[in-house]
């Protein structure tokens, strides 16, 4: 598309001889992606980093307690769980770890699905499955922590 932006000799631009109109770049067309109007992806990016830092303490501490200290895995039993969840400190620890890890991992998997699933339907269903599994797991885990009963039997 050749728009003549040079001036013909001797002819200044004027109301009678207007300069050619140049279409602004980024004009929205029917093919443009939908305007999002939010900073969701920015906050997601920030959340991955902040939750990651907190998870270092929560998750590595968890592994240390459950798998390394005091006989490692051999000490774990219903009684051991009951002992730990008798304290609000460990309830809050486990609750925070559950929520942060699930949202961090869920958001990470959302990125991965966006990267590899190119077909619109595939992407939709994979994300539907991911969100269902994430919400289910967070709710189940939360329920278990809050309703734990050491005298269940």
């Amino acid at each position: 598309m050749a728009i003549d932006t040079t001036r013909a000799a001797g002819s200044e631009f004027s109301p009678d001889n207007p300069a050619p109109l140049i279409e602004p770049p980024r004009t929205r067309t029917p093919h443009s992606p939908r305007a999002t109007r939010t900073n969701f992806e920015l906050y997601g990016w920030l959340f991955m980093r902040l939750s990651g830092i907190v998870l270092v303490i929560l998750v590595l501490g968890h592994l240390l307690i459950q798998l390394v200290l005091d006989g490692g895995v051999s000490k774990i039993s219903f009684a051991f769980v009951a002992g730990r969840w008798a304290s609000p400190f460990w309830q809050v620890w486990d609750l925070a770890m559950l929520w942060l890890a699930m949202l961090h991992g869920g958001n990470g998997l959302r990125t991965i699905i966006n990267d590899y699933a190119q077909n619109d339907d595939t992407r939709f269903w994979l994300k539907a499955l991911l969100y269902t599994a994430t919400v289910f797991t967070v709710l189940l885990g939360t329920l278990v922590i809050f309703t734990f009963d050491p005298n269940i039997r």
Binding site: G72, G105, L140
Partner: protein
């Protein structure tokens, strides 16, 4: 590039494990016996070695994740990204060596007796 692939693979792995782990822990709401039976599975040698693999995945993801944070937020992060990868890998190897005995001794005792 490869650290990014490893970060991605370990992230997915940990997520799937976490899903299963919340399910097995939920058995404490069924009965102490149901929970202890499930945990007995964790104490089998095979799952013991898988746990060591899980520790490997979590440690790598955590250390490399901190490196990613440093690259993004520290002014000189990008310049030292390669050195930080070696620090992360070195710490990982050190911690894995340290974790070998405490995490695996139960599995070895099961296999060969005490």
């Amino acid at each position: 590039m490869w650290s990014w692939v490893a970060h991605r693979v370990t992230g997915v792995l940990i997520f799937f494990f976490l899903f299963v782990h919340v399910l097995d822990t939920a058995l404490v709401r069924v009965s102490p016996e149901a929970y202890d039976d499930a945990i007995d599975l964790y104490k089998s040698p095979l799952v013991g070695f898988m746990e060591y693999g899980l520790v490997a995945a979590v440690l790598f993801h955590a250390l490399n994740g901190l490196r990613v944070v440093a690259v993004d937020f520290w002014q000189r992060g990008a310049r030292y990204q390669r050195q930080m990868l070696w620090v992360a890998v070195g710490l990982w190897a050190l911690l894995m060596a340290g974790a070998a005995y405490p995490v695996l001794n139960h599995a070895f005792r099961e296999l060969f007796g005490s």
